[in-house]
Amino acid sequence: MTISELLSQYGDKYVEALLTTWQLTFISFAGAMIIGIIITVMRVCPVKPLRISGDIYVQIFRNIPGASLLIFLVYALPNLQVILSYYQCVLIATVLIPAAFASEYLMSGINAIGIGQIEAARSLGMDFGIMMRKVVIPQAVRFSILPMTNLLIATMLTTSLASQVPLNPKDLTGLVSYINTRDTGGVTSFLISAVMYCGTAVIIGQIGSYIDRKVRIVR
C-alpha cells in the first residue's frame, strides 16, 4: 500500500494508536516512579526485612522478560481466581518492570554521592532528615535525570507489550500487526509507527538532556 492509501484508510487509527501509546507510557511511568521511590526507601531503611524484600523485588522485575510477565498476568492469574482486564494486565506489567529500574537508578544516584559527603554532613551536626533533604536527595535527583529520561523511553518501548493482548483502541505496535494481518501494509505501515515511536523518543531525549544540562553538578 502506498502512504496515501494507508493514511486515508488508517490515518485516524494511527493517531488514536499514538495517543494510546502515549497514555500507556505516561501512566506507567508515573506508577513506576511511585513504586520505584517506595522500593528505594525500603532498600535504604535500617529495617532488614524491608531491605531484603526491596532487593528481591528489584532482582525479580529487572530480570523477568516483559512477555513472560504479561503472559503470566493474562493467562495464569485467572487460575488463581484473580481476573483482570487486558488493559489492567498491560498496565501492571509496564509499571512493575520499569519500577525496578527506577529504583536501581535512584540507588546508583544515592551511591554516586559518596560516603565522604555523608560523613561531612554528619560531622556538621545535621540530623538524618536535614541530611536527606539538603545533601542526599537533591544530588540523587540530579544524578538520576538522564537515567530517568532513558527509563521513560524504555517504558514507551515496553508498552509495545500491549500488542500481545486484544486492546481497543490498539497501541502503535498492535495497530501495525492488525493492519498487516488483514492487508498488505508493506514497509510503509511499519515506518509510520516507527517514526511515531522514534519521534516521541527523540523529543523525550531532548527535554531530558535540556533539564540535565540545567541541573547537572559539574565536578
Binding site: 535504604v44 535500617p46 529495617v47 532488614k48 526485612p49 524491608l50 524484600s53 529487572r62 530480570n63 523477568i64 522478560p65 512477555a67 513472560s68 510477565l69 503472559i71 503470566f72 493467562y75 495464569a76 487460575n79 488463581l80 481466581q81 484473580v82 529500574f101 536501581e104 537508578y105 540507588m107 546508583s108 544515592i110 551511591n111 560516603i115 555523608i118 554528619r122 538524618f128 541530611m131 532513558n150 527509563l151 523511553i153 524504555a154 514507551m156 518501548l157 515496553t158 508498552t159 509495545s160 500488542s163 505496535t173 501495525v176 500487526s177 498487516n180 494481518t181 498488505t184 508493506g186 514497509v187 511499519f190 509507527s193 516507527a194 515511536y197 522514534c198 519521534g199 523518543a201 527523540v202
Partner: protein, 274 residues
C-alpha cells in the same frame, strides 16, 4: 567483609532507643511479609493450584530435558542475536566516528531509529512483511535478526563510549610512530576500548535474552515456546509459566552478576542496564 555503600552509611551507629525501635519495626515488617506470603499460598491452595497434578511432572527427567532444550533454544537465538548486534553496532559506530560528515548523520539517524523503536515492531516486520517480499529466512534468524537490529543502536553507543574512553595520547603516540589511521584504530584504540565495555556488553545481553522471549510469536522452540508445549501436554498452566519465569530470572540474574564482577575486576562502576 562486604564493602560499605552509601546506604549503610546513611545512619549513625544506633543508640539504645533506636535499636529498640528498629527491632520493633523489624518484627512488624516480618509479620507483614509473612501475612503477604500466607495470602499468596492461600490463593494457590484455594484455587487448587497446589494440587500434585500441577506439579508432579517436574519430578520427571523428560520435563527438565524438554525445558533444557528450550533454554538451549533461547541461548542459541540470544547468542546469534548478540553477535549480530555486535557486528551491526560496530558498523553504526564506525559511521558515527568516521571523518566523513554525511556518514556521521546517517549513523546518528540509524542509532536513534533502532533505539527508539520497540523490538516487537521489528519482530512483526520480519514475521509479517518480510515473507511477503519473497524472502524466506530460517526460523532462528526471524527472531534473532529483529532482536539484533533493535539492540544494535544500543551496542553502537556502548562501543563508542569505549572508544572515547581510550586516552587521546594513545592515538597521538601511534600516529607519531608512523601508523596509519586505520591501523591505529584497529590495533591500538579498539582493543583497549573493548576491555572498557565488556561489562556493559554483557548487561546488554540481558536485554537480548528478554527480547528473544517473543519467539513464541513465530513458534521458534525457545524456553517460552517449550513451556507452552508442556502446558498443553499436562494441562498445567500456572505452574509451568511460574517455573519458566523463574528460569528466565535466574539466567538474567547470573548475566548481571557476571557483568558486575567483570566491572569490579577492571575497577569500573557497574552498569545498571535497561
Amino acid at each position: 567483609m562486604r564493602e560499605l555503600t552509601v546506604r549503610d552509611m546513611l545512619y549513625e551507629t544506633p543508640g539504645k532507643e533506636t535499636r529498640k525501635k528498629t527491632a520493633v519495626a523489624t518484627v512488624v515488617s516480618l509479620l507483614v511479609i509473612m501475612v503477604f506470603l500466607c495470602y499468596i499460598v492461600k490463593l494457590f491452595s484455594e484455587s487448587g493450584q497446589l494440587d500434585s497434578r500441577y506439579w508432579f511432572f517436574f519430578t520427571k527427567l523428560t520435563t527438565w530435558k524438554f525445558l533444557f532444550e528450550g533454554i538451549l533454544g533461547t541461548l542459541e537465538a540470544s547468542l546469534l542475536a548478540g553477535t549480530s548486534a555486535l557486528a551491526i553496532g560496530f558498523v553504526f559506530m564506525c559511521m558515527r566516528i568516521c571523518v566523513y560528515k554525511p556518514l556521521n548523520y546517517i549513523g546518528i539517524a540509524l542509532v536513534e531509529f533502532t533505539r527508539g523503536v520497540p523490538t516487537l515492531l521489528f519482530i512483526y516486520f520480519f514475521f509479517l512483511d518480510v515473507p511477503k517480499m519473497g524472502i524466506n529466512l530460517p526460523t532462528v534468524w526471524r527472531i534473532s535478526l529483529p532482536v539484533a537490529i533493535s539492540a544494535s543502536g544500543m551496542v553502537s553507543e556502548v562501543l563508542r563510549s569505549g572508544v572515547n574512553a581510550v586516552p587521546k595520547g594513545q592515538r597521538e603516540a601511534a600516529l607519531s610512530i608512523g601508523m596509519r589511521e586505520i591501523n591505529v584504530f584497529l590495533k591500538i584504540i579498539f582493543p583497549q576500548a573493548v576491555r572498557y565495555i565488556i561489562p556493559a556488553l554483557v548487561s546488554d545481553l540481558v536485554i537480548v535474552v528478554k527480547d528473544t522471549t517473543f519467539s513464541y510469536i513465530l513458534s521458534f522452540p525457545d524456553l517460552m515456546q517449550n513451556a507452552k508445549v508442556l502446558i498443553s501436554n499436562y494441562d498445567a498452566l500456572l505452574s509451568v509459566y511460574l517455573v519458566a519465569g523463574v528460569i528466565y530470572i535466574l539466567i538474567n540474574y547470573f548475566l548481571n552478576r557476571i557483568s558486575v564482577s567483570l566491572a569490579k575486576r577492571s575497577g569500573m562502576t557497574p552498569v545498571v542496564g535497561r
